[in-house]
């Protein structure tokens, strides 16, 4: 009798586990990475978010000039932050100034105009300002993700792997950092950071944000180090370093990636909040939170000064969150695909001997 499934190997064994044998059909012949990728791309929200975020990053980064040392890559946008063009007075409702020229009305004057996002009080192009702010915010987001990711993984691994006293000391450190109200410290340092620059602020926020990740990595290590494959590696003669990096860490990588994405989504909001309070990025630097805080009073008369940075903050945070959610689902082996009625009706029947 022919068993279902393809090649069963020379030993002719049936793939194990009743329902699970059938459930395994979905992942047959795929590597772990392929399975995760497949599951991720099935999550529609996450894929759209990934696409939107990538385009957003490319769009924002290429809009203005980029200076890397002496090298200068010109941006495609005509204004820079330093330019102070004349304020527009015409066509603005209620006698305001510098209103956006962006028009999406297909029958009328469809197009960008000279200042699609409008101008600020003194006439600077608001599109250029928002782009510059988004750049800063994105930079801060990635730096925070990298710094807290690195520290969290290292501290968590050491605590989880060695346990006992090392674990106790490191976890008390985590307790300490968690009990200190982060926003106040951030505010104090942020006040100083205004003079040192946004990179310092990002590094500092990263130094505070790793505690949750460290706890998670530690918990993963505690359960993974009891697995038999760790003993098997030890019997094979593997050193502690090799066991940590070759055997345990790759098995925890899924959760680590998920938490880091979520940290990044939180980071962009923390930066916004601090800048809004005046402790984060300080003028003449620009960030999205700072823009909102500066033009808060203009909300009733010139709301566009408020809307545009807000729109970018929400889009970035939402996209990163969605991607994190998609990754979480993709890495979770228990996550089952929901089956709709349509799926049921459309399904073919597997042809098998004896039916």
């Amino acid at each position: 009798m022919k068993l279902f499934g393809r090649d069963k190997g020379s030993s002719g064994e049936i793939l194990s586990g009743g329902e699970s044998a059938i459930a395994n059909k979905e992942v047959e012949g795929l590597s772990q990475g392929q399975i995760v990728r497949r599951r991720f791309f099935r999550h529609r929200g996450a894929v759209i978010a990934l696409f939107v975020l990538t385009s957003l990053i490319v769009f924002v980064m290429s809009a203005l000039d980029t200076k890397i040392g002496a090298l200068r890559i010109p941006g495609w946008w005509k204004w820079t932050v330093e330019d102070i063009p004349e304020l527009r007075y015409e066509d603005c409702p209620g006698g305001t100034t510098g209103c956006p020229t962006l028009s999406l009305n297909p029958s009328g004057a469809f197009g960008l105009g000279t200042h699609p996002f409008g101008q600020d009080d003194i006439g600077r192009d608001y599109f250029a300002l928002v782009m510059n702010g988004a750049r800063r915010s994105l930079m801060i987001m990635f730096v925070i993700g990298a710094v807290s990711g690195f520290i969290g993984v290292v501290v968590g691994s050491i605590a989880g792997f060695y346990g006992k006293r090392v674990d106790a000391v490191l976890m008390r450190l985590v307790d300490f950092i968690q009990t200190v109200p982060g926003i106040i410290i951030a505010a104090v340092i942020g006040k100083a950071a205004g003079r040192v620059g946004p990179l310092f602020l990002a590094l500092f926020l990263g130094l505070l944000g790793w505690t949750g990740l460290a706890r998670l990595v530690r918990a993963q290590f505690l359960s993974l180090r009891e697995m038999e494959f760790v003993d098997a590696a030890r019997v094979a003669g593997a050193s502690n370093v090799r066991i940590t990096f070759k055997h345990i860490l790759p098995n925890a990588i899924g959760q680590i990636i998920v938490v880091i994405t979520l940290i990044m989504a939180g980071a962009i909001l923390t930066e916004t909040a601090l800048s809004y309070l005046g402790f984060g990025v300080v003028a003449p630097d620009v960030s999205l939170g700072l823009l909102i805080s500066q033009y808060e009073s203009a909300f009733t008369t010139r709301p566009f000064l408020f809307w545009w940075p807000g729109f970018f903050i929400i889009s970035i945070a939402l996209c990163v969150n969605f991607i994190g959610d998609g990754l979480r689902d993709a890495f979770d082996p228990r996550q089952k695909r929901r089956i709709t009625k349509k799926d049921r009706l459309k399904a073919k029947v597997d042809i098998k001997a004896g039916r």
């Binding site: 009743g18 795929l30 098997a232 399904a347 597997d350």
Partner: protein, 555 residues
């Protein structure tokens, strides 16, 4: 009992029952055109390897399957159609008419409630009962299933009970409403043989008392021989053969049934295995354990626990020693300590002439080349993120014996030795079946051609037919490579096939050790006798005699 009778005289009638699972746009059949009937007071067993669809049938009866399943055909319980029945009717029948006993009582009982509460809950769901009445009935049930000290046990949480007691509690819950049909899905697989024998006795007694029918699902032919009136053999969702126990065991019609029966290891059926050397001219032992005590140190408020006390054992080159005992007897601890995974507290331990009693990590590195271990659980003993070729090659790579193409060649040789295709080198563990993974485990253990192999229950997670092939392979490799082996198992029949000598452990103590035949045929110790008599034999007639003998021994 009159209530269990229906017009047609059968309690459960399944006809043309099909179950399919939806995976990625395709319906895969899991159960195909199944037919059976079960009368009150009878036991029907469904047997087959994992993946045959046994458990799927059990869950399908009461529509307990996941959302990606579809069912067709008819399932009649007491002349009521259960397929596509209204949820209210199903709920009325579940627990009251059809009760389930699952394999793993730890996960089937809710850890947040006492067992008494869980039984009371079942009772009050189905009957109009006051809390006091229900409590009294629960107490009665707990007494009936022989849980010691019912008055205090009723207030206990599942984690406070032993495995056997938990299974009894689950049986008590299942019996709460005097169900007409008891579906037992591998009820004793997670239990030790002695406890298994007691649970089976209990189920048999209750069946006779209540005149319930039992649908027994198991892969253990010994349990089937002990319990079943009728047997259904399944493979890949198809019913291969069905008939009375006598028919199936003594005159099996289908070749698959014969194969399945032949794969079951039988106690005392294998030939004596002889060592290459005489008793008088023994070479130096490969493993020498002398008066070893192993203690798990104090952890917070948990006091130190002595797992092994004053244990001595020697294994000589080319010899297989079987180490048997129930769960918690300390056999795995001995195995792990023998290769330096667990430190010992007292005594001395020697491997190939080197004393490792108090060795440091660096000193242990030296003995890694002489030892290998095959773990119990094929699912967790391979790193899921490494291709199996890399897992197998790791010991060679770390011992700096080979690198690059030479290492690849050695890995291929090892795969050949364990009869796996070379192309499997790049596969990941999750793509392999349990038996194949266990072969990978052997290949890795033998990578450095060790003098001593520790096999820690390597077959307990495998099907009988896979187990038979695995044991053949192990024997063949042992014959070729002539390593010494400490084979740890709770299954006496498996040890019987392999071992030259047998050591029996109980509660961390060595109770008896000696030649295989001496232990199995002429055990001196009480405990060994009980252990041997509790093993069910896959032959209904012989098993009945053994059962009666065991009950006599108990009195």
């Amino acid at each position: 009992m009159e209530t269990n009778k229906s017009a047609s005289g059968s309690l459960l009638k399944i006809s043309h029952f099909n179950i399919d699972f939806w995976v990625d746009g395709v319906w895969y059949p899991a159960v195909i055109d199944m037919n059976m009937e079960l009368a009150p007071g009878k036991v029907t067993a469904i047997v087959g390897e994992s993946g045959a669809g046994k458990s799927t049938v059990a869950l399908g009866l009461m529509s307990l399957l996941a959302a990606n399943a579809r069912m067709s055909g008819s399932v009649m319980v007491k002349d009521q159609e259960m397929l596509n029945a209204k949820p209210l009717l199903l709920r009325k029948f579940r627990g009251k008419e059809v009760a389930y006993i699952f394999q793993e009582p730890m996960t089937a009982l809710n850890p947040l409630f006492t067992i008494g509460y869980q039984i009371v809950e079942t009772l009050r769901n189905h009957f109009d009962m006051g809390p006091k009445e229900a409590h009294a009935r629960a107490l009665e049930l707990i007494t009936m299933v022989d849980i010691p000290d019912p008055h205090t046990s009723i207030e206990k949480y599942p984690h406070q009970l032993s495995g056997g007691q938990r299974q009894r509690a689950m049986i008590a819950q299942a019996l709460a409403c005097d169900p007409g049909l008891l579906v037992a899905d591998e009820p004793t697989t997670a239990l030790d043989v002695t406890v298994q024998a007691e649970i089976l006795d209990l189920m048999r007694g209750l069946k006779d008392k209540l005149n319930s029918a039992i649908l027994l699902i198991t892969h253990d032919m010994g349990v089937v021989a002990d319990m079943a009136d009728e047997i259904i053999v399944m493979k890949d969702g198809l019913t291969i053969e069905s008939g009375t126990a006598d028919q199936i065991f003594n005159r099996p019609g289908h070749p698959y049934t014969r194969e399945l029966l032949a794969a079951v290891p039988k106690l005392g059926a294998s030939k004596k295995r002889v060592l290459a050397y005489k008793e008088s001219s023994k070479p130096a032992p490969v493993l020498k354990i002398e008066n070893v005590t192993i203690e798990y140190p104090k952890r917070g408020r948990v006091p130190a626990f002595v797992a092994v006390k004053n244990f001595s054992l020697e294994i000589f080159p080319g010899e297989i020693v079987g180490l048997v005992g129930e769960s918690g007897s300390g056999k795995t601890t001995v195995g792990r300590a023998s290769i330096g995974l667990i430190p010992i507290k007292e005594g001395s331990l020697e491997i190939v002439g080197k004393d490792i009693s108090h060795a440091t990590q660096k000193e242990l590195f030296g003995i890694r080349r002489h030892t290998g271990i095959v773990f119990q659980d094929p699912a967790s003993s391979l790193n899921p993120r490494l291709p199996i070729g890399e897992s197998i090659g790791e010991p060679i790579f770390l011992a700096k014996l080979a690198k690059g193409p030479e290492l690849a060649r050695m890995v291929e040789d090892l795969l050949d030795q364990v009869e796996l295709p070379r192309s499997y080198r790049n596969r990941y563990p999750h793509e392999l079946s349990g038996g194949q993974r266990q072969r990978v485990g052997i290949a890795r253990a033998l990578a450095l051609t060790p003098d001593l192999l520790i096999a820690d229950e390597p077959t307990s997670a495998l099907d009988v037919s896979v187990q038979a092939r695995f044991l053949d392979l192990l024997q063949e490799l042992q014959g070729k490579l002539n390593f010494a082996c400490l084979f740890i198992s709770h299954d006496l029949a498996v040890v019987d096939i392999l071992a030259h000598r047998i050591a029996v452990m109980q509660n961390g103590l060595l109770v008896e050790s000696g030649d295989r035949d001496q232990i199995l045929k002429n055990p001196k110790n009480d405990y060994t006798q009980r252990l041997i008599s509790a093993v069910p034999v896959p032959d209904p007639a012989e098993q009945r005699i053994r059962r009666e003998a065991r009950l006599a021994l108990k009195k």
